[in-house]
């Protein structure tokens, strides 16, 4: 166990935000889910008794009819904003006094940094380069992430859970988002920061970064398994496999979308366009864990090989 190596990575000034994320994200996830559970209990009670549902103020916070529903922004909100600004300033001050921003040697194109890493917030994309070619990992998938995020409000036809934390009423939406944000995006960043060493090789936490390490890993492409060598054969096989993947994944996603009575109710509200868009983004998102799996389980690099691009 090389504690020094761990400390070196964790204490690199630019990695401090990720160390902070390691604590902040679980905390806020717990914080949100705790409120969601409280709301879910209330929803359960209200559903059980229609009488209560009529009279209840429908929040987990205390309320009495004689209390005013609204408060003045001055001072009740402004004092919080002011306090927040002061706290953030103090945190920033302490952080800036105790930790110096990194400054390496002058830029030198002739001396490659190894590992050469992007800023931490892009390490998820850099980690995707292991599994996809740059045109996918660096351009197409990031664009799809942005478009997919922007499309969320237009695909989600579930009217419940607007303006309060809940798990029960939006199970699948929250599961999908948390899978994308927590599991894929943040985990990939953590791997890119803490695991990837020289040559972008996998070093377990505590393993010493060995700059002369060589990994004998022979990657194959899917057509090689079938001894297909011609360009046409490779292209057609890849297209067929991709089509099968989209079909199977689409069928699975459809199963989830129509899993229970509530899901079917939402499904009936969706237009065909909404349904197709949702399918497309979910299937494409699942492509990443699938490629990670087949790389590590079968050492397969490309599924689809054409003269112009590989997936």
């Amino acid at each position: 166990m090389d504690w020094h190596q761990i400390w070196e990575i964790a204490s690199t000034p630019d990695n401090v935000p990720i160390v902070a994320l390691l604590f902040l994200v679980p905390f806020y996830t717990w914080y949100a889910f705790r409120q969601a559970r409280a709301n879910d209990r209330l929803i359960g009670e209200l559903e059980a008794s229609p009488e209560l549902a009529k009279s209840h103020h429908r929040k987990t916070f205390p309320f009495r009819p004689e209390w005013t529903r609204e408060v003045h922004v001055w001072p009740y909100l402004l004092r919080i904003e002011f306090l927040a600004a002061i706290i953030v300033t103090v945190i920033l001050m302490i952080w800036s006094i105790t930790l110096n921003a990194p400054l390496e040697e002058p830029a030198n194109p002739n001396l490659t940094m190894n590992p050469a890493k992007d800023p931490w917030y892009f390490l998820g994309l850099q980690e995707m380069l292991v599994y996809f070619d740059p045109w996918m990992a660096g351009v197409v998938l990031p664009s799809l992430i942005l478009v997919g995020l922007a499309a969320i409000p237009y695909m989600d036809e579930n009217p419940l859970g607007a303006g309060y934390y809940t798990l029960k009423q939006r199970k699948w939406a929250i599961a999908a988002f948390c899978f994308g944000f927590l599991v894929l995006w943040l985990t990939m960043i953590f791997i890119g920061t803490f695991i990837r060493g020289p040559g972008w090789m996998w070093f377990w936490p505590g393993q010493t970064w060995d700059h002369s390490r060589v990994v004998f890993e022979v990657n194959r492409d899917l057509p090689d398994l079938f001894n297909i060598t011609g360009a046409w054969g490779k292209g057609i096989l890849g297209a067929v496999v991709m089509a099968i993947y989209y079909g199977v994944a689409g069928w699975l996603v459809h199963k989830v979308i129509t899993l229970n009575e509530f899901n079917r109710k939402i499904y009936r509200r969706m237009s065909f366009l909404q349904y197709l868009t949702l399918q497309f983004f979910l299937i494409t998102m699942l492509l990443l864990p699938l490629k990670i799996f087949i790389r590590h389980a079968f050492r397969i690099k490309y599924i689809w090989i054409t003269p112009w691009f590989n997936i």
Binding site: A53, A107, G138, V139, L146, D156, F177
Partner: protein, 312 residues
């Protein structure tokens, strides 16, 4: 005689003048004393009224006017839901992101005084800044850490907005604006990374922009790029860097995007974002919970009819 007369007149004149001055001074003193009394009610002076326009007192009206008549505060409504001030709901992340943007603008402008975006000079400027400029090191540290913190707070803000379902009707478009703001936050941070012109920034930007080579159609190593006549000297990466390698032009472009281009655009989007929060009915909650039995049937135009229940 004439002299005496003259002298007498002068004396008389002098005492007269002195007398007059005395009287005037006394009157002036009284007037000043009177005036000072009125200044104690400072909120009735012309100066105060011209600046603050309305009386600010502890009345509900005064509190409301305090928000509504102030250009910096009027983005707020005068009153909000009593639960909306709870930290547990918003986590304060949107507001903190905006505050960090202000901190970054402030420290960034100060940093610009000490920086030349030219190869060779840029790195030396950072050394000088850290060694010679009073609080220079603190200034640079604050700019850097605030930038990192802003990326975190923006992500957490997005996470909160998703978990509370705040993107739902009628706030769909503001979510889209938010996604654009997140992209620009990352781009701001990324363009700033190159500016110290050290190994860290140079290789990070090299790695980052190398991906642009692979842009489909527009990159010289991307799918169908070569077929469309892309080469290292005319593709999208060339446009980003102002050259085929990360060099002086890339530094200048990075600097201009970082200090002028993106801040201008992001400010516009921020204005829309905040304005839409108000126009869409203020912050989304904490709203009363809605029950499954209360879902209303959807109304849709003829163009997009709901699909029939295919899933049984």
């Amino acid at each position: 005689m004439a002299d005496e007369n003259g002298n007498g007149k002068e004396q008389k004149g002098l005492t007269g003048v002195l007398e007059k001055v005395k009287v005037d001074t006394r009157a002036l003193k009284d007037k000043a004393a009177e005036e000072i009394k009125t200044y104690k009610e400072y909120d009735r002076t012309q100066l105060y009224k011209s600046v603050f326009r309305v009386k600010h007192d502890e009345t509900p009206r005064g509190r409301a006017l305090g928000i509504l008549t102030n250009v910096f505060l009027h983005l707020h409504p005068a009153k909000i839901n009593r639960d909306a001030v709870r930290y547990s709901y918003t986590w304060g992340m949107g507001g903190i992101s905006f505050y960090l943007f202000i901190v970054l603008t402030f420290t960034g402008v100060l940093l610009m005084f000490y920086y030349h975006p030219t190869k060779g000079q840029a790195f030396r400027d950072i050394i000088y800044l850290e060694a010679d400029v009073p609080f220079g090191k603190l200034l640079r540290n604050m700019h850097r850490w605030a930038a990192h913190l802003m990326v975190i707070t923006v992500w957490l803000h997005m996470f909160r907005v998703f978990l509370t379902g705040s993107y739902k009707k009628p706030r769909e478009f503001n979510w889209v604006v938010g996604v654009v703001l997140m992209l620009f936050t990352l781009l701001l941070s990324f363009t700033g990374y190159l500016l110290p012109d050290d190994q860290l920034g140079f290789w990070a930007v090299t790695v980052g922009t190398n991906m642009a080579r692979a842009t489909p159609l527009l990159g010289h190593e991307g799918p169908f790029g070569p077929q469309l006549g892309m080469n290292p000297f005319n593709d999208v990466r060339f446009a980003l860097l102002g050259g085929s390698i990360v060099d002086a032009n890339a530094l200048l472009r990075s600097y201009i995007w970082h200090c002028i281009g993106i801040p201008l655009v992001i400010s516009l989007f921020m204005a829309v974002h905040f304005w839409r929060v108000r126009k869409d009915g203020g912050i989304s909650g904490p709203a009363p919970v809605m029950l499954e039995s209360e879902i209303k049937e959807i109304k849709r135009g003829a163009v997009a009819a709901p699909i029939k229940a295919g899933g049984r």
